[in-house]
């Protein structure tokens, strides 16, 4: 019950991890089924229709329901602790963000059971996704499920922006923030400015599908390329939303386990901001073959190539952080160090793709599939694994098993390269993407088989991680405040798991790597910035859950043209908003006597 009403960022982080982890397994299963279908030519393991549903749901689930929530898990678990705050700026909205994501994801996946999942790709291009060519409900689930889940993401973005701007501990200027916090700050800005564009696109497609609007109906003057523009104006920043937090994790982990401060901190901050900014300038590199003309293609080619520069700056700064350090290869650090060359491989194929005339060959082939899996899986997922191994003790109070962690790393890492390196060649040799089968005798057989075997290895790696979680929950080693012994940032100054109120006394920050600075000055703890006193906490609430259920119900109502149900669902949501506005929530206080350093029970 506590978990349904919590507004505590630490618990919400765990909820995001559980839900995101669950959807990661769903998306992973979809990937395995895809690879089984492709292991040999003209296979009939799944039908063409089912295959298109699998590829659509794999992409949509992994990006929106697995990767982003797991990033939100880390954001929630870590950011308030890293800046010395007791919670995020809007705890109620934080909970609402989780529940809307959760119900949006459930809605999307219900489609499997009600006659068909969306099957027009995660990019849902029109006219394929329009009512004329996708007459069943699949794309409706996509359009509505993502709108609901998208609300959650937008809320989260605003929440973390305000938290980071307004709630840093005394002495923590912007240029003393940990790199992970900077990464989340820029990411949140990207979320704020990218998701509304997606919302408009989804609304327009929904209007076309449900109410016979003509945004994308070419018979009545609609424009299908317009969908591409709207989608990719969101879609490109989205991939930077995915990767910047991973960059933040890498900065923390490499620095901590090299016992050295991050090399070139101000350059890193600058590079992060620049990547975020440039991310909005390159969307049409997904549309080089759409017929925008040579001037547009040339400009977007150059803009896309430019993003390689700040990214390269980051890579070199990580390498030089390790240079001269004392490197310990914990599981967390294995993932982080494995990230560097892998992400560079993905990044360089990105520069290759940026050259528009060459892209005319690569586009919509397995070369692109290889590229984005290298940066998303080889980048983001390795980053998430790293972050989870690193911050697990702070979230759950126990250390993940190191042997199992290394096993996870090696199986997943080798499986990953096996799956995707070879796909570059498949694409160059003429294999388009999103095909449910291929002919025999054209040279694709062996490479597809190798790729499928690699996928199973990745599955095995994931299983090792789950075993690790279970073993740790049952008999894991308890963690101290600073279990890695080299913690540099504020989250390592408090018990593991963090107590309900985070900091007994808000700390005083005297420099970058605030905790490390105190350690080097011979202090075991932070200097407090305030006396011990009663701590004000926000009250839990069941309203976010009900509001999300209301949206869930409304979604079904609109989709199946039962407008009474749709109105009822919206009514529940608005009623909860009204109750929230009218009822004053003054929170509660934890008195000094109760400050026993009791951690959050997971």
């Amino acid at each position: 019950m506590d978990w349904l009403t919590t507004v505590d960022h630490k618990k919400i982080g765990i909820l995001y991890l559980l839900a995101g982890g669950f959807f990661f397994l769903v998306g992973g299963m979809e990937a395995i089924l895809i690879r089984i279908q492709l292991w040999k030519p003209l296979n009939d393991f799944v039908s063409a229709d089912t295959y298109n549903e699998l590829l659509t749901m794999h992409g949509t689930t992994m990006i929106f329901l697995a990767a982003m929530p797991m990033l939100f898990a880390l954001m929630n678990a870590v950011i308030p602790l890293q800046i010395g705050a007791r919670d995020v700026a809007f705890p109620f909205l934080n909970s609402l963000g989780f529940w809307t994501f959760f119900f949006g994801g459930v809605l999307l996946n219900v489609s499997w059971f009600t006659g068909g999942a969306p099957d027009a790709g995660w990019t849902s291009y029109v006219p394929l996704a329009s009512p004329a060519y996708s007459a069943d409900y699949g794309v409706d689930y996509y359009v509505i499920g993502l709108q609901i889940a998208g609300i959650g993401t937008l809320i989260g973005g605003i929440n973390f922006l305000v938290t980071i701007i307004n709630m840093r501990a005394p002495g923590m200027t912007f240029m003393r923030m940990p790199m992970f916090t900077w990464a989340i700050f820029v990411t949140s800005a990207l979320i704020l400015f990218a998701f509304p564009a997606l919302t408009v696109g989804l609304v327009a497609l929904m209007f076309d599908r449900l109410f016979q609007a003509n945004f994308f109906n070419v018979t009545n003057g609609g424009n299908t390329v317009l969908w591409e523009h709207i989608f990719w104006i969101f879609g490109h920043p989205e991939v930077y939303i995915l990767i910047l937090p991973a960059f933040g994790v890498i900065s923390e982990v490499i620095s901590t386990f090299s016992r050295k401060r991050l090399f070139g901190y101000s350059s890193m901050v600058f590079a992060t901001v620049l990547i975020g900014f440039l991310g909005f300038m390159v969307w049409a590199h997904h549309m080089f073959t759409a017929g925008l003309g040579p001037v547009a293609n040339a400009l977007f080619s150059i803009a896309t190539m430019l993003i390689a520069v700040p990214t390269g700056i980051k890579i070199f700064n990580w390498l030089f952080t390790m240079w001269g350090g004392s490197i310990k290869f914990t599981s967390a650090n294995l993932f982080a160090v494995g990230f560097v060359p892998t992400f560079v491989m993905g990044g360089v194929t990105g520069v290759m793709l940026a050259a528009a005339p060459a892209d005319f060959q690569y586009h919509d082939s397995y070369f692109v599939v290889a590229h984005f899996h290298y940066v998303i899986v080889g980048g983001l997922i390795l980053g998430i694994f790293s972050g989870l191994h690193y911050w697990w003790p702070k979230m759950f109070g126990k250390m993940l098993n190191e042997f199992l962690g290394k096993l996870t790393f090696w199986t997943f890492f080798i499986g990953f390269h096996m799956t995707f390196l070879i796909q570059h060649f498949l694409g160059l040799m003429g294999m388009p993407r999103r095909i449910y089968t291929y002919l025999d005798g054209i040279g694709f057989n062996e490479m597809n088989l190798i790729s499928t075997i690699g996928a199973f290895l990745m599955g095995l790696g994931t299983i090792f991680f789950i075993v690790n979680i279970i073993v740790t929950a049952v008999s894991g080693k308890k963690a101290s405040n600073d279990p890695w012994e080299d913690g540099r940032t504020l989250e390592w100054t408090i018990p593991s798991p963090a107590p309900e109120y985070n900091f007994k006394q808000t700390p005083l920050v005297r420099g970058y790597d605030a905790f490390w600075k105190e350690k080097m000055d011979g202090n075991k703890e932070m200097t407090p910035a305030e006396p011990i006193g009663p701590i004000h906490m926000p009250s839990p609430s069941i309203l976010p859950l009900f509001m999300s259920i209301g949206l869930f119900i409304a979604g079904f109502g609109f989709m199946y043209h039962k407008y009474i149900i749709g109105a009822a669902g919206l009514g529940i949501t608005f009623l909860c908003m009204l109750i929230r506005s009218l009822k004053d929530d003054h929170g509660f206080h934890i008195e000094p006597e109760e400050l026993q350093d009791k951690g959050v029970k997971a």
Binding site: A89, P196, A197, D208, N214, F215, G221
Partner: protein, 206 residues
Amino acid sequence: MSAHTHADGHLPHEPEKATLEGRNKVLGFWLFLGGETVLFGTLFSAFLALRDKVGEGNPTANELFNLSTVAIATFILLTSSLTSVFAIQAMHAGKKVPMLWWLAITVLFGLGFLGLEIYEFYEYVHEGHGFTTSAFSSSFYTLVGFHGAHVAFGVLWISILIGQVLKKGLNVVTAPKLYVAGMYWHFIDVVWVFIFTVVYLMGKVG
């Protein structure tokens, strides 16, 4: 989270910023408006892309739009923005009753704007310009309709806030709510200025 209450019971000068929650709310709302700007910006882009796709035999923008009605609606909305400024000024001066009156007038003007817009849409539908008529019409109703929905939400919101202040009074908890509602109202006013220019004026000019 310490509250600023002055010993003599007077409201602090900028009551919406007197508490951490208040400051968070104001900053959060500025950011939200940034997101809304992108939202309306995308709706405008879609409209601009599709504004020529009127379809055979359907009325064009030039034929449809009655600038005098739209001008009156514009005047009403702009004035309501001014009255909302007066309301916030009264709030900063700690004058609860004048603030409530200005808010009520704002709501009335908002309702007037909505009434005119509903009448306008009704006429258009009868002239053959319905939601499903063409790409132009779909994007027109979506853009202008979304704005209208925002006005309607604002009217409802401010009305409820008037009720809340009547019940709980003007303090550092209700002040941030009023302040962000004022910001919201200004925002939809600015959006309307763009709609008036891009949709109606440019539509008339062709």
